[in-house]
């Protein structure tokens, strides 16, 4: 079959033929029915809108509404209103983001305790071993900062009450260097050689090169050789 024109008639309707200048009274019955039906539907359609916030207190009448034209020009209050609202929005966002940034910083400061050392059982590394043998233990390093960090653990000289010393060089850490991701922990094994060390209690610290605030107290109990097991 041959196809009709889009309106079912032979003559095409050019764009703009039907415009705002066509008087409403010139509408055909079908056109009028379209207009009336659409108008009726729109009434119900608008009722479906529940997007608008509930009305608040009515603002007082704007005295600017009664203002006379200035030099023949109406003041562009609508435009001014948009500019002010936009500026207030930007300012509100700025305040909010500043506050959030400050709060994040405070939160980080409260939560961050830097890099800490402990024994896994508290703030004292307790080692023991028989004289002439070895004492071993574990040192934990906790990174509570937001940056990746690393440190080289080392043992200070351990001293007893009578001035005897277990030299720092007697200690070995494995691994020698600890690298830690933000908010992560890692550990190293420490081994202290007790050759030529008199029985007794020795005290000192584990420190970490590169981490000046990290320190873990150490208590080393050296038993007499006959206690060696």
């Amino acid at each position: 079959m041959s196809r009709p024109e889009a309106d079912g008639r032979a003559r095409p309707h050019p764009a703009g033929e039907f415009g705002p200048f066509q008087a409403l009274t010139a509408l055909t019955d079908v056109q009028r029915s379209g207009l009336d039906a659409a108008t009726e539907v729109v009434r119900g359609f608008a009722d479906l809108l529940d997007m608008t916030p509930p009305p608040g207190p009515q603002p007082p009448p704007d005295p600017a509404d009664d203002r006379e034209p200035v030099n023949g020009h109406e003041p562009d209050l609508a435009q001014l209103r948009v500019i002010v609202v936009r500026a207030l929005d930007l300012y509100a966002d700025l305040v909010r983001r500043s506050f959030e940034g400050y709060a994040d910083l405070m939160d980080q400061m409260v939560r961050s305790r830097g890099v800490e050392l402990d024994s896994g059982r508290g703030g004292l590394l307790a080692l023991q071993g028989a004289a002439g043998a070895r004492a071993t233990g574990t040192v934990w390093m906790h990174n509570t900062t937001a940056q990746r960090t690393s440190g080289v653990p080392r043992l200070t000289d351990l001293a007893s009450h009578d001035g005897s010393v277990v030299p720092a060089s007697a200690a070995r850490f494995q691994p020698a260097t600890l690298a830690i991701e933000p908010s992560a922990s890692t550990s190293a094994t420490v081994e202290v050689a007790l050759g030529n060390v008199a029985p007794g209690v020795y005290r000192g610290h584990v420190l970490a090169r590169g981490l000046p605030d990290a320190a873990l107290p150490v208590r080393l109990l050296v038993r007499a050789d006959e206690d060696r097991s």
């Binding site: 024109e5 055909t28 729109v42």
Partner: protein
């Protein structure tokens, strides 16, 4: 200026807005993986040249109300992505063959992956609205709320149309059709773009009631023309298979008019045809209908159903003109305002 020149001017402006949106959309969709089973499909429909009426309407309205294209580009991308998501799922629901001159996505790749690509587009459509930087938190939240509201209305409208087809509802009046397309088409095609464009352009100060009315009339004119083009358009320009709406049993204005004018025998044949077109998979086929889609189009011509729809659409367009002047009463003259106004006759004159 001649009518043809007016049409080409409007389409040139549509092309500019559409191009801006498409570029932003492609930036947004590129470099996503997995490409083979998902993002290649997701990028397919957006890469096919559409008219871009929705983003153009949004961007132009934003400019008319004093805003900039940059402020509204995110929502323009969002509505275009949502539109493409709807198209993929509509094509599956209707088992359509063509979309924008090429095979539909489910015909090319199969229904399961096409459904998933449509889901992905619907989710991706939300993302451009989450960047509050260009608009500020308050306005961004408002635009997102409007988006969810629009999606809800559209899906509700689509459900009603599918339900009418499944239950073979035939006792319908033109006003039922207008109520249907108000939900399934107008919200996302014209009402949301206009409302959001005005909201962004005016920083949330514009009154939206008149805008909403105008959006309904404009969208109704768009859909009436779309339904007509499906019957008598140029398939190359229109981009979809002609008479698809009849074969799918869509309740168009022409069909509703025909059902009210046909003889008793003709109506019986029509109802049988529609029952078969909209049958559910669990319902066995009845006897073959005595009429086919071409025969129904002949009846529509015979009973001047197309002429009725055109005239009816002109009445709706008259209402659109009236409401445009309410909606844009406080908006100073500008090319973007003029473009939005020119879309009213364009909706009934367009050929694609």
């Amino acid at each position: 200026m001649t009518a043809a020149a007016e049409l080409s001017d409007i389409e040139a402006t549509l092309g500019r807005y559409s191009s801006l949106t498409r570029e932003a959309m492609q930036r947004y969709l590129r470099d996503r993986t997995p490409s083979r089973y998902l993002y290649d499909l997701v990028r397919d429909y957006p890469s096919r040249a559409g008219k871009g009426i929705r983003p153009s309407l949004l961007l132009a309205t934003c400019q008319a109300f004093g805003g900039s294209v940059d402020q509204a580009l995110g929502p323009a991308v969002a509505i275009e992505l949502a539109h493409n998501a709807f198209l993929i799922h509509d094509d599956i629901e209707d088992d359509s063959f063509q979309r924008r001159g090429r095979p539909t996505l489910h015909r090319m790749y199969g229904t399961p992956v096409a459904i998933n690509a449509g889901d992905a587009l619907a989710v991706l459509a939300m993302q451009p609205l989450r960047d509050g930087t260009p608009l500020g938190t308050r306005l961004s939240q408002r635009v997102s709320d409007e988006f969810v509201h629009m999606l809800t209305r559209t899906i509700e409208g689509q459900a009603i149309e599918l339900g009418w087809r499944a239950d073979n509802v035939v006792d319908l009046e033109p006003i039922d059709y207008l109520e249907l397309i108000g939900q399934k088409t107008c919200w996302y095609t014209t009402v949301w773009p206009l409302r959001v464009g005005a909201l962004i352009g005016s920083a949330g100060t514009a009154s939206l009631d008149a805008i909403t009315r105008f959006g309904f009339y404009l969208g109704a004119a768009f859909q009436i023309r779309d339904d007509m083009l499906n019957l008598v358009g140029d398939e190359t320009e229109y981009g979809k298979e002609l008479l698809g709406d009849i074969r799918e049993g869509k309740r168009t204005l022409m069909l509703i008019h025909l059902l009210g004018r046909a003889s008793a025998d003709e109506r019986r044949s029509l109802v049988a045809f529609l029952a078969r077109a909209g049958r559910r998979p669990d319902v066995p086929d009845g006897p073959a209908p005595e009429i086919d889609a071409e025969g129904i189009l002949e009846l529509m011509v015979h009973y001047s159903s197309l002429e009725f729809a055109y005239q009816f659409g002109q009445g709706v367009a008259t209402a659109a003109y009236e409401s445009f002047h309410d909606a844009f009463a406080d908006v100073p003259p500008s090319p973007s305002r003029g473009f939005v106004e020119a879309l009213i006759p364009y909706m009934l004159a367009r050929v694609s």
